[in-house]
């Protein structure tokens, strides 16, 4: 690693006013806007690759029987769909937003560690390459599910090792990103911008960054133990050698549950920026939103074993994790109530960002309800590892995180490109996504209640109609995202000139800058009163 850094150091000139062009602009990028752009394009690419994985496996599930995929390849697809979407799609997309927006929103000239910023981005394509190459090694990609449960993950072929290294690299990237964000927010705010005056997006990212720092090393530890169990004769997860397979799940979910909030808290931040703008009214309770976010983050560390109710914990364990999990509904409820109160008696307009934000609240809340249902330990037993859970986490992750990312993109893209996006395309994208999303994921609740387990390559005939409908919905949802791609490209290439404020109700420092935002901004910090 130091060799890489040295090499970069060797080429250093006065980077502050150096504008490399061509490929050098991107490879040597130290500007937060360029790096943010790369993060966003990277995550969208991974989103499409992960989507193709999903559509392949949905094709197999279109009808009962095995038509197109062998079950072992099917398992590779479910695993890689999860890994790619979580680590390649959603997480880097939020870091992309952080890169673009946080310096502009707090009045800083750039991120605190510009070169580390470059490094944390460029680690990602390397990790993605490892993941994709793993399809082509003997035995194919890992097929142990994105949770990589031992001992199944110990059985896998070399594709598993590549996935482990990919996770190590992506973890390192996330940790560097988190350090950068924390340092930037705590040290580089414009004079007068106290923490409680800071925009909600920066607040949620600050808390998220701490979560990342706390749990990414835990994931690295878990997968490293799998690696040594696989190759170096250790028995962390092998009962015959004194280990315990369930310990893997404890460690994984100690990472995994905070990880869920890593993927949703910045989304809350985006929604909390968008709703007040289009309601033309201040966010109802700023400080209670901050406290709610912090409570969710803290609670996320004591609920992990609710993913493990079926492993067979003692009554007390079952009850503790059930109560703790149910508590999360309280701060989450506070958020939803605050957004509703912000909209109440506002002066609302419904441009695409607002549509996605309102759509987010609607669908995310449905995921929240099913979350309460599966939080109830006794009821989780029949629902665990069925399509009910698949429905639940797609309602919060796709309709939650992804819709918020869309809301954020439409909201800020005029600032990024200097052009307004095509409102008609944006609205078509919203309605197409919203409708096909529900066609895809709503019937999964029924399948899960009826007892269809997840990660199944084939299923009883009685589940056929819903599965066919889900596959049709999935293709519709996948194709709808091409509208988004088109809307973004069109906006980059031209369109109505965006004003500096862009939105009538916009508030915050980023809107005081010209559109498009110049390469270097806030070289002299603004003063916030």
């Amino acid at each position: 690693m130091s060799a890489v850094l040295d090499q970069h150091g060797g080429h250093a000139h006065d980077h502050g006013h150096d504008h490399p062009t061509g490929w050098r602009r991107w490879l040597y990028a130290t500007n937060h806007k360029d790096i943010g752009t790369m993060y966003l394009w990277f995550s969208f690419t991974m989103f499409l690759i992960g989507g193709v994985n999903a559509l392949l496996l949905r094709s197999e599930l279109f009808q009962p029987g095995l038509q197109i995929l062998r079950p072992e390849f099917f398992n590779q697809l479910t695993t890689m769909h999860g890994l790619i979407m979580v680590f390649g799609g959603i997480m880097p997309a939020f870091v992309g937003f952080a890169n673009w927006q946080i310096p502009m929103m707090i009045g800083a000239s750039d991120m605190a560690f510009a070169r580390m910023n470059n490094f944390s981005f460029w680690l990602l394509p390397a990790a993605a390459l490892l993941l994709i190459v793993s399809y082509f090694v003997p035995g194919g990609a890992t097929a142990a599910g994105w949770t990589l449960y031992a001992p199944l993950s110990v059985q896998m072929g070399p594709g598993m090792d590549l996935a482990i290294f990919a996770l190590h690299i992506m973890g390192a990237s996330s940790i560097m990103g988190a350090i950068n964000i924390i340092t930037t927010i705590l040290n580089m705010r414009a004079p007068g911008m106290t923490l409680m005056k800071m925009p909600m997006f920066c607040w949620t990212w600050l808390i998220t960054a701490y979560l990342l720092l706390a749990v990414m090393p835990v994931l690295a530890g878990a997968v490293t133990m799998v690696l040594t169990d696989r190759h170096f004769g250790t028995s962390f997860f092998n009962a015959a050698g004194g280990g315990d397979p369930v310990m893997y799940q404890h460690i994984f979910w100690f990472f995994g549950h905070p990880e869920v909030y890593i993927m949703i808290l910045p989304a809350f931040g985006i929604i909390s920026e968008v709703i007040p703008t289009f309601a033309r009214k201040k966010l109802f309770g700023c400080s209670s939103m901050v406290y709610a976010t912090a409570s969710i983050a803290i609670l996320s560390f004591i609920v992990w074993a609710h993913h493990m109710f079926t492993t067979g914990m003692p009554v007390t364990g079952q009850l503790f994790f059930m109560y703790a999990t149910m508590l999360i509904a309280v701060p989450t409820g506070v958020k939803v109530f605050n957004w509703t109160a912000t909209m109440w008696r506002g002066s609302m307009t419904f441009e695409t960002p607002m549509l996605f934000a309102v759509g987010f609240i609607f669908v995310f809340t449905m995921g929240g309800f099913t979350g309460v249902i599966v939080a109830l330990a006794p009821l989780d037993l029949p629902l665990h590892d069925t399509y009910y859970v698949v429905a639940h986490f797609h309602y919060v992750l796709v309709a939650g995180s992804l819709f918020a990312l869309f809301a954020g993109t439409y909201y800020w893209i005029p600032k990024w490109t200097g052009h307004m996006y095509d409102e008609r395309l944006g609205k078509i994208h919203f309605w197409a996504s919203m409708i096909t999303f529900n066609i895809t994921f709503f019937p999964m609740h029924f399948l899960g209640l009826a007892g269809m387990p997840r990660r199944y390559a084939d299923y009883p005939m009685q589940f056929a109609d819903f599965n066919a409908l889900i596959t049709i919905g999935a293709f519709g949802f996948g194709l709808s995202q091409l509208i988004f791609l088109w809307a973004v490209i069109k906006c980059i290439r031209g369109g109505e000139k965006a004003t500096d404020r862009v939105w009538e109700g916009s508030h915050g420092l980023e809107w005081t800058l010209p559109s498009p935002a110049p390469f270097h901004t806030f070289e002299t910090p603004p003063v916030v009163k």
């Binding site: 449960y149 397979p245 369930v246 033309r280 002066s347 809340t365 309460v372």
Partner: protein
């Protein structure tokens, strides 16, 4: 390998576009003891626990519906009335500690109301004491093994495997698979030997696994419990209806995860005891003399059956395995080498691979299957016959 997968995917898409989507489920009847066609809710309860789960599910659902109507009613009203296009000017209010406290406390109280009945059900689910019958269920890749360890039927032991034939499942290899499975209402949820239990008796299921984690799941009993290799967990049910009830493995366990169903046959006390007597008789008849010396042809014939029941899923009927994932036995060094090496592999498994230990099979079965592999698919091992005594000698 990968390219064929993608090509098949494209073909399937083309098929779908041509209107291949016939309403497959409507051609099929409800599954007795399994899911109904397009079932919308939890399975019809057969145990008290499952009935309680139904109740609490409806309770939570109604709580959610009320909250949904209140929150989204308010939001919808705002969306319709408080728009700029209707000339609505934005109000100025924000921050209210009283409101914030109210909407923290009310949800908290709702949660307490949900947690109380849930707690009672957790305690009920976990009470495995005083069982009338104890059965050990062992998860294998990819079948279940049942050992009756306490109560009537003690000593009965058998494996339970998917009985849906491959020619109903694999459209790629068997033309007409679709028509055949449409005639089969218990497609993928049927086994050769179901677990048999008496009605209205408390059955404690002790779970473990041989290789990776599996999960024993019967929707109608409201029961799911992971089976963890090297550890023992327990769960219980008291079926209140006579009938056959079906479930599936619920924890990803590799290639044939979708193909290891669970079937429980609940019989009247009388019929159950009759079944126990039959099983005992059959076991006596089947008991084999481990010292017997077999002729090679008999061993091979027996071994072919053992292979089909235990080995074929990975090593394939043609002995060629799945390249890169499961090794071939045809031409394998282990199979053609010294017999001790192969006996050890089969008895101990290969740690860190999908090759599990098969020591649960009898000496005769292992001797037969090893002999079979040494002479099948063009294999000509120098040591071409393994007797039960050879296996017994290697067992530790």
């Amino acid at each position: 390998m990968l390219r064929t997968e993608f090509r098949h995917a494209i073909e399937a898409l083309a098929l779908a576009a041509l209107g291949g989507w016939a309403t497959a489920a409507s051609a099929v009847a409800d599954m007795p003891g399994g899911p109904r066609v397009n079932q919308l809710n939890l399975a019809e309860p057969v145990t008290q626990v499952a009935a309680d789960l139904h109740w609490i599910h409806w309770f939570v659902m109604w709580v959610c519906v009320v909250i949904f109507v209140l929150v989204f009613g308010a939001m919808l009203y705002a969306i319709v009335k408080h728009r700029k296009s209707k000339g609505h000017a934005a109000a100025e209010f924000h921050e209210s500690t009283a409101v914030e406290i109210a909407w923290t406390i009310v949800p908290f109280l709702i949660i307490v109301a949900l947690a109380l009945p849930a707690t009672r059900i957790v305690v009920e689910q976990k009470d495995t004491a005083n069982a009338d019958l104890t059965i050990k269920a062992t998860g294998y890749q990819w079948k279940w093994g049942y050992d009756y360890i306490k109560g009537d039927g003690e000593g009965i032991s058998f494996l339970s495997m998917l009985s849906t034939p491959r020619d109903q499942i694999e459209d790629r290899n068997y033309p007409g698979a679709k028509e055949r499975r449409e005639q089969n209402p218990t497609y993928l949820m049927e086994v050769d030997h179901p677990m048999v239990v008496p009605v209205n008796k408390k059955v404690r299921v002790v779970l473990t696994a041989n290789d990776v984690i599996h999960a024993w799941y019967i929707p109608a009993f409201g029961l799911k419990q992971d089976a963890i290799p090297g550890f023992v967990r327990d769960a219980w049910f008291r079926a209140e209806k006579v009938g056959v009830f079906r479930g599936q493995c619920a924890e990803l366990c590799g290639k044939d995860h979708a193909f290891m169903p669970i079937v429980v046959d609940v019989r009247s006390e009388e019929d159950y005891l009759k079944w126990v007597a039959e099983q005992k008789k059959e076991m006596l008849a089947k008991a084999e003399d481990p010292g017997k010396v077999w002729a090679i042809a008999d061993l091979e014939a027996r071994g072919e059956k053992v292979f089909a029941a235990n080995c074929v899923a990975c090593h394939q009927a043609n002995g060629k395995g799945v390249p890169g994932t499961f090794p071939a036995l045809a031409g394998s060094k282990v199979v053609l080498g010294k017999k001790q090496g192969q006996i050890d592999t089969v008895l101990q498994g290969r740690p860190g691979t999908a090759m599990a230990s098969f020591k649960q099979l009898s000496d005769t079965e292992l001797a037969a299957v090893i002999t079979y592999t040494r002479n099948a698919w063009g294999n000509k091992a120098p040591e071409n016959i393994v007797q039960p005594a050879d296996v017994a000698a290697e067992r530790k």
